[in-house]
């Protein structure tokens, strides 16, 4: 592991515990009967959500991407709860926030910020949750942390599988 990871007992353990809890919950809710692809897909989605959620929550909003991911998950759950009003509110709020942050980003770029990266940063912004709202400097920071957490997640899932 790279030396500048978090304290191994903190992020990893947090993620592990949450993830395991989520997995057991899912297993308890849906007892594994057959292995039809559809059910597997459903479980897959749930597990994926559980993994994302557990990772985002174990980072505890210290990072922008974790906040964005949590927001996404929450809005998704609201959407699934099929409350139209809540959906509208959340989407409008989100759009407003995104517009505002996009404006901020544009204004920052127009103030003589270095634009040597241009195209590639857009790709990175799409990948990293919450990346649209950040300037390059913070985006790189968030990317580094996000990569670190993703590797943790992958390792844990590998072990768990």
């Amino acid at each position: 592991m790279s030396p500048h990871h978090l304290n191994p007992s903190s992020l990893k353990s947090r993620f592990t515990t949450r993830f395991l809890r989520a997995l057991t919950n899912i297993n308890a809710q849906n007892p594994i009967s057959s292995s039809s692809p559809r059910e597997i897909l459903q479980r897959y989605r749930r597990i994926k959500v559980a993994a994302d959620k557990s990772m985002a929550y174990s980072v505890r909003s210290r990072r922008t991407w974790s906040r964005a991911m949590r927001w996404k998950l929450r809005s998704r759950s609201w959407r699934q709860a099929s409350s139209v009003r809540r959906l509208k509110i959340t989407t409008t709020c989100h759009q407003a926030i995104m517009k505002k942050t996009a404006h901020e980003r544009e204004s920052k770029t127009t103030t003589g910020e270095e634009v040597g990266f241009g195209v590639q940063t857009d790709g990175l912004r799409e990948l990293v949750p919450g990346g649209e709202a950040m300037d390059i400097c913070n985006l790189l920071d968030e990317t580094a942390h996000y990569i670190k957490c993703l590797t943790t997640q992958v390792q844990r899932e590998q072990i768990a599988s």
């Binding site: 592991m1 790279s2 500048h4 191994p8 990893k12 353990s13 592990t16 515990t17 395991l20 997995l23 057991t24 297993n27 594994i32 292995s35 692809p37 597997i40 897909l41 459903q42 479980r43 897959y44 989605r45 749930r46 597990i47 994926k48 559980a50 993994a51 994302d52 103030t111 003589g112 910020e113 270095e114 040597g116 990266f117 590639q120 940063t121 790709g123 990175l124 990948l127 990293v128 390059i136 400097c137 790189l140 920071d141 990317t143 580094a144 996000y146 990569i147 670190k148 993703l150 590797t151 997640q153 992958v154 390792q155 844990r156 899932e157 590998q158 072990i159 768990a160 599988s161």
Partner: protein
């Protein structure tokens, strides 16, 4: 003697006979070298590129013959003060500043003090300020500038200045001359930039200047251009003040510790010389230095505005604008901001000093701000924008290096664009891995009893087993590709293992099973490594056969797994194509 001086400066001597006594003989050579040094320094300064780079002393001495008396008084005072200093540059520049101070203080003899003070203050503004336009108003406004300082100066020169009462008119025209204003501004720019305006008060800060300026050449003798844009000098100035004011040092040093600690150390080494003479003025200078860092915050932008009524308005306005404009920038520009604000508040320093002595007594120093002080490198542009951009660039490059360490295989890639591409690919591959693994978890049926401890122990295994992977023979040149799909290989192995060992439901046996199984799977991984380049061509059915070939396990049990493996591995194959 004055003829020599003027000739050196390239100016005809004034018609009026100058009363240079024999005591002035010693500083005369210093004057000559001073003028040349000033020339050099002024030319080197980038502070006012639009203004001419002539020697400061060139222009106006020829224009008025009444300046001779001013020289007299100035030189007399300069004789007295620079006796303590020995270093060349400090002497020379100090004497120049003395000259200006005395010239300004000449007006203090009569009722000119209100005029000369704002003039001086306006002179001390940076090149950004509109000195020429501000000259009309200073003459009208009676500011309460650092009167004690000027009083002392006045007392010094009263005997000599009695004859200069007739200079009122000369000072007026002296001051009203916009050309001289330019020169003074330029010099003040030079001076202010060298001291960040902290020690610009001539009378009281003579010794401060000695110390500060002495430290300057000691630190950066050949790097005077760096002086122009270095907020570290502000730190130095603050450090000078901090050294001076022992009882006020604690708050000051908190702030001065904001600045480069290196510069602190260098300055503090050199400052002890100036300690004895600095105590007298430490109060005001410490106040002033408190004032200038306070200018960083919005509160202090309000305080200059509060003092604006007392001081000439245009300078305040320009300073306010500068404060606000700089504060609107991000923190990265903090260093630049501080520098600009220091420049801008130079003119207000004298004005505010008196006011702030009362204010700052009650206000505790504000918590240090998170400024990053940047020193302009030699040969680089020194304006605020380029400084800020340089800070940004360095930040970004530092983060790119961090990312390079995180992303495997990025060491060979140079250049930001390629690095960013690699990073994007890596993040995509990680996300796909997560998806794949969660899919695998969804399909695995038997994992009901999760043991956290076992997972923790597996973590150790995992970290150990990741190490031998690079040993595998890799056909493709990109190790990152191998790393990318290696984790997918392992889950495939694990899934096959688990399917093969359906009876072993518990996790614990798998602990022991993993290592030897991994070892047994090392050879198959070689096969996988060879198969890797062919992955893009595989369709789903082929993958099944490959897996079966690799392990020879029960195909029926593997169908379920492979069906979901395929979904993941198709993604894997796509990823490999990209890689």
């Amino acid at each position: 003697m004055e003829n020599q001086f003027f000739l050196n400066a390239g100016i005809p001597p004034p018609a009026r006979p100058l009363h240079f006594g024999p005591s002035l003989s010693s500083p005369m050579p210093a004057w000559q070298s001073l003028s040349s040094a000033m020339e050099i320094q002024v030319t080197e300064m980038n502070c006012s590129p639009d203004q001419s780079q002539d020697c400061f002393l060139n222009p106006h001495w020829e224009k008025s013959t009444d300046y001779g008396l001013q020289f007299d008084s100035a030189l007399s005072s300069m004789v007295s003060s620079p006796a303590a200093s020995n270093s060349n540059i400090s002497n020379e520049s100090f004497m120049i500043r003395e000259l200006i101070g005395k010239l300004g203080s000449i007006g203090n003899s009569g009722e000119i003090s209100p005029h000369s003070q704002p003039l001086l203050a306006s002179y001390l503004n940076g090149p950004n300020s509109t000195n020429t336009s501000g000259y009309s108003t200073p003459l009208n406004s009676p500011p309460k500038l650092s009167l004690p300082m000027m009083d002392s100066l006045v007392k010094e020169k009263l005997p000599s200045l009695e004859k200069s009462m007739g200079l009122n008119s000369s000072v007026a025209e002296f001051s009203a001359d916009p050309g001289f204003a330019e020169r003074a501004a330029k010099f003040s720019c030079f001076g202010s930039k060298s001291f960040n305006g902290r020690t610009s008060q001539f009378g009281l800060n003579n010794n401060n200047e000695i110390a500060a300026y002495r430290s300057n050449p000691l630190r950066a003798d050949t790097k005077l251009p760096r002086v122009s844009s270095s907020p570290s000098l502000k730190a130095m100035g603050s450090q000078v003040g901090g050294v001076q004011g022992a009882n006020k040092n604690s708050p000051l040093k908190d702030r001065s510790e904001l600045a480069n600690s290196q510069e602190e150390s260098t300055v503090s080494e050199q400052n002890p010389n100036g300690d004895p003479g600095l105590k007298a003025s430490k109060d005001l200078t410490s106040r002033k230095r408190k004032a200038v860092p306070k200018a960083k915050t919005k509160e202090t932008s309000a305080s200059p505005s509060a003092n604006a009524a007392k001081v000439h308005d245009p300078n305040e306005e320009s300073n306010e604008k500068r404060c606000k404009s700089t504060e609107s920038n991000g923190n990265e520009n903090g260093s630049v901001k501080a520098e600009e604000e220091a420049k801008g508040s130079n003119g207000n320093a004298g004005d505010e000093k008196q006011n702030k002595t009362n204010n700052n007594n009650t206000k505790p120093p504000e918590p240090p701000k998170d400024y990053i002080h940047v020193r302009a490198r030699r040969g680089q542009a020194t304006d605020s924008h380029s400084l800020a951009e340089r800070v940004r660039r360095e930040k970004i490059s530092e983060r790119m290096k961090l990312l390079q360490n995180l992303v495997p295989g990025c060491n060979k890639v140079t250049g930001k664009a390629l690095m960013l591409d690699e990073i994007i690919n890596y993040v995509q591959s990680l996300q796909r891995q997560v998806e794949f693994l969660s899919m695998k978890l969804a399909s695995v049926n038997t994992r009901l009893d999760f043991n956290v401890d076992s997972l923790m122990s597996k973590d150790i295994f995992q970290s150990n087993t990741t190490l031998p992977h690079p040993i595998f023979p890799i056909d493709s040149s990109s190790a990152s590709a191998f790393f990318g799909h290696q984790p997918q290989q392992n889950p495939a192995l694990h899934s096959n293992l688990s399917s093969g060992t359906m009876t072993q439901c518990s996790v614990d046996p798998l602990d022991t099973a993993i290592c030897p199984n991994l070892n047994t799977h090392l050879p198959p991984i070689n096969q996988f490594a060879q198969i890797v380049p062919q992955y893009p061509t595989f369709c789903e059915g082929d993958l099944q056969t490959v897996v079966q070939m690799g392990y020879g396990q029960n195909p029926s049990q593997e169908m379920a797994i492979q069906s979901e493996n395929l979904q993941g591995s198709n993604q894997v194959s796509h990823m490999k194509v990209e890689l």
